[in-house]
């Protein structure tokens, strides 16, 4: 808090300190502000570099400062700082814990983020989609009659899944919750953006180097190219893992979008018969994407289990996202296998579990570690927009 005389009275947030300690094992209290971390970080800007200042704020329990700080999200947790820290304070892990606090703080509604961050709520969080989907299944026939879209179903000739969970049901189920999750995600991003802007008005005004739109486009390009990942040294195998998961996920998203838009998509007039045959280019892409996510996810899990010095300490927040992702792909492939084996009702049960996992991954996105895609991109856009990214700013200034 700033007083009239200009002195700053620090009000430590004890609850925040306690939470950080639980997440990092109090390592951050070892920091003696030498600045090795900020000097060694390959992606930290030259002006006001991170993570030294964040380490001080963390020790002082300055929650407001940390949550409004975009630098926390510029960090890609490669742990170059953690392995070089002479005190073993593990700045990389501290910033990860602060990011978790950020997700909890900016989420809308907040209680959902609290649930997602605690293991004891797992049964509830998985139970909600399971019960809702189960009810939809139970009342499917009555719903179909009420909506006037009932189709007589006999013994299935083509072994599609739609005989049990028709497309209209899945599309509307995931559509409704998808819109809710989207609204929650946008709310979180807007809250975060306002907080960063608010912090700016209290401190030094920063020069504007780029419009928000242009910054966003540039950030998307840099995220696609994994620019920040490539400059990290210590945990460099994370680049391969993240590339696999990232592009595998995009491939799966593209196939899903195309299937959903099938009836209205002008590109899909000929030969888009669903369910696909195994050698359909779409099926091949879906399988390839699933395989890429599976491999990338396995790499990440392996690293966290057996190379935790470099990968960083792992909390429930990290594991929840990784294992959900793993469960989605694993149940997906099990479902596909059972489908080819024509095992009924096993394949339907596997499909049901798969859908519950997909719900947990996508609908809880704004509340889980998956939200890093929202907040990190927001912070990166802000960094470009404000000229925080030094190199980018000097390049623009010199007109190159």
């Amino acid at each position: 808090m700033e007083t009239a005389e200009g002195t700053v009275v620090i009000e430590p947030d004890l609850e925040f300190i306690r939470d950080l300690s639980r997440q990092t094992g109090e390592s951050y209290k070892q920091c003696f502000q030498c600045g090795t971390c900020a000097a060694t970080c390959p992606i930290s800007p030259d002006v006001h570099p991170f993570p030294r200042k964040e380490m001080a704020w963390a020790a002082w329990g300055m929650k407001d400062r940390l949550l409004r700080d975009p630098d926390v999200w510029l960090c890609h947790h490669c742990n170059d700082c953690s392995v070089r820290c002479p005190r073993g304070a593990r700045p990389g892990d501290v910033l990860a814990a602060v990011r978790r606090e950020g997700v909890l703080h900016y989420a809308a509604p907040r209680f959902l983020a609290r649930w997602v961050s605690r293991p004891k709520y797992i049964p509830l969080l998985l139970g909600i989609p399971a019960v809702l989907l189960g009810l939809a299944l139970l009342f499917r026939d009555r719903l179909e009659e009420a909506l006037g879209i009932a189709v007589p179903s006999g013994e299935p000739i083509v072994y599609a899944y739609s005989s049990m969970l028709p497309h209209w049901l899945l599309n509307s189920f995931f559509g409704v919750f998808g819109i809710l999750a989207f609204v929650a995600a946008v709310t979180g991003v807007v809250r975060f953006w306002r907080a960063i802007k608010g912090a700016e008005s209290q401190g030094m005004p920063r020069p504007r180097t780029k419009g928000v739109g242009a910054s966003t486009l540039s950030v998307i390009r840099r995220v696609l190219l994994h620019e920040k990942f490539t400059s990290c040294a210590t945990d460099n195998s994370r680049l391969v893992a993240h590339l696999c998961v990232f592009f595998g996920f995009i491939a799966l998203a593209v196939v899903t979008t195309w299937i959903i838009t099938n009836p209205i998509n002008p590109v899909l007039r000929n030969g888009f018969a669903y369910p696909f045959s195994f050698w359909s280019p779409w099926k091949l892409l879906a399988n390839l994407g699933g395989l890429a996510v599976f491999v990338g996810c396995a790499l990440m899990i392996w690293e966290r289990l057996y190379d935790s010095d470099n990968a960083g300490s792992s909390t429930f927040f990290d594991w929840a996202l990784l294992w959900t992702l793993y469960a989605v792909v694993a149940t997906g492939f099990v479902t596909e296998l059972l489908h080819y084996l024509r095992m009924v009702p096993h394949r339907h049960v596997a499909y049901f579990i798969h859908l519950v996992c997909v719900f947990a991954l996508l609908i809880y996105l704004p509340y889980s570690k998956f939200a890093h895609l929202l907040y990190r991109m927001t912070a990166m856009v802000y960094a470009e927009h404000s000229g925080r990214d030094d190199d980018e700013a000097s390049r623009l200034a010199s007109g190159a």
Binding site: P152, S153, G154, E155, I157, V158, L224, L225, H226, T230, N236, S237, L239, V240, L243, F247, I250, A251, V254, V255, W258, P266, V267, L268, R269, N270, G271, F272, A273, P281, W282, L284, L285, L288, G289, L299, W302, E303, Y306, D307, N310
Partner: protein
Amino acid sequence: MKLSNPLRTGNTGRVVALCGLIILLPIGYSAVRALIPQRSEVPQVFLEKPLAAFQDCVEETSYMRVHHMDLLKQLREDVIRDGIRGEVTLEQCARCHTSRERFCDRCHQAANVILDCFGCHYYPEPGSEAQGL
């Protein structure tokens, strides 16, 4: 486990471009197929229409399309296992659907559903009886 990373030599861009290309391939494939007018590769299931004289089946066409096998199984149960010979018989089916090859088999071949009934059983093709009407 430490992986030596081939991507660190600065060819991440090429890898990303390759990923993008692979993802765009099926879209291009579908776009090309949508643009080029072509005869459908899906075999046209030509079903021989039942004889015009017999308009009324035992059930609606939409019902028969998905439930004919259930009715046939019921018929089998009734006749073979329970010894009940009702009014509906297989011969009655054959009066309208005069040819098994041109009606049952064509659809079953297209849908790749293998019929094993007529490996043993005789499909009564009435020929003269039906055509006489």
